[in-house]
């Protein structure tokens, strides 16, 4: 390959996959499209089902408290759906734009996720500790409730305490790993964006 002819290299590059490979690609694409369609339908069905249940509960129990709770639940559902759709649109817009725009968006997304993870990491231990202390102080032992009954089971409290600690430790480990991964991704994205900027600046007239 000593001669450097891009047209000839293009011919080598654009070799068509064999029929078996083409069929595999077709199958993959059709399966992906089917899953995406199904997921979209399921999203709508789930939203309708939750809204219907909430409306049913409000109709069968038309108390002001139920109406407020029901309206709040539907608003949260709507808000979450709208947010998801907007996020998807932003992501798709990034994919159809230039690479630099896509990198800028990815950097903004990773930075936001990192901030969120850090906030959760630093906020979780005090919140969990405070909630636990508050709960322990406020709840006097009662034997006529389900929790009171459970407390009577030997070993229940240590198991519950251990499970709670394990959950918090698990969450903290997960957050630390996510933050490290996010930082690495952010470094790579920044390096790529710098490479593009450098390339652009060096080719400016």
């Amino acid at each position: 390959m000593s001669d450097f002819d891009l047209d000839r290299l293009g011919d080598v590059w654009r070799q068509q996959p064999d029929p078996e490979e083409m069929q595999r690609l077709q199958r993959t694409a059709i399966a992906v499209a089917r899953r995406a369609r199904l997921s979209a339908i399921l999203d709508v069905c789930a939203a309708i089902a939750v809204a219907a249940v909430v409306i049913f509960l409000v109709i069968t129990n038309p108390q002001p408290k139920t109406v407020v709770m029901g309206s709040a639940a539907i608003l949260v559902l709507l808000g979450s759906n709208i947010r998801l759709r907007k996020l998807r649109q932003v992501e798709l817009k990034g994919l159809t734009g230039t690479t630099e725009e896509m990198l800028d968006q990815s950097i903004a997304r990773v930075e936001t996720t990192l901030r969120h993870h850090k906030f959760t990491l630093y906020g979780t231990p005090p919140v969990v500790l405070g909630s636990w202390l508050g709960f322990a102080a406020a709840s006097a032992p009662r034997h006529d409730t389900i929790l009171g009954g459970l407390r009577e089971i030997p070993g229940f409290r240590p198991i519950l305490f251990g499970a709670g600690i394990a959950a918090v430790v698990g969450l903290i480990i997960y957050l630390i790993i996510s933050i490290r991964r996010g930082r690495r991704e952010l470094n790579r994205l920044n390096a790529m964006r710098d490479a593009y900027r450098q390339e652009r600046d060096s080719s400016a007239p």
Binding site: L6, Q15, V32, R88, L95, T98, M102
Partner: protein, 161 residues
């Protein structure tokens, strides 16, 4: 707008080659290919015909591939190419030479810096310089310079083997 199946038949190989030029690991490449198909399927509704469908799909495939590789912790592997080539017109010896040449080309392309890789892939895919400049939103002069650097780097890598 042609149906999705038609689009896959027409542009599936393009998507496959772009995925291959960014991801050497076959398992991860399969994942990337699926992500590109999904992104294309989701983006088709927003396609307004401002550019050709091929340009639109190539842009999505490039951007999805770049965002995919940034998520990978490890360095890109230099794996073999599992895709077989059409052997109708080639004898086994010619096929081996061509396969080797294609594999070398693909590996060398993967080692290019991203801005240069992007340009060289689009040239090898047969896009005109005007289309590439429009796709990357850069001036023709800047494109010529970037392509020249990419060609020099690619040539050097291919000569080194």
């Amino acid at each position: 707008m042609p149906p999705f199946e038609r689009i896959v038949a027409d542009y599936g190989p393009l998507i496959s080659r772009i995925a291959m030029s960014y991801e050497a690991d076959p398992t991860l490449r399969e994942d990337l290919t699926q992500q590109i198909f999904l992104a294309v399927w989701q983006s088709l509704a927003s396609y307004r015909g401002e550019s050709s469908l091929k340009t639109f799909i190539a842009r999505i495939a490039q951007n999805r591939s770049i965002s995919f590789v940034t998520k990978q912790v490890r360095q890109p592997k230099m794996a073999e190419l599992p895709e077989r080539l059409e052997a109708d017109t080639l004898n086994p010896e010619e096929e081996a030479i061509e396969l080797n040449e294609r594999e070398m080309l693909m590996q060398a392309t993967r080692r290019l810096p991203l801005p240069q890789r992007e340009v060289i892939i689009l040239v090898l895919e047969g896009f005109s310089y005007a289309e590439i400049a429009e796709m990357l939103e850069i001036a023709p002069n800047a494109l010529a310079l970037r392509l020249s650097r990419a060609k020099t780097a690619l040539k050097s890598m291919l000569e080194q083997g």
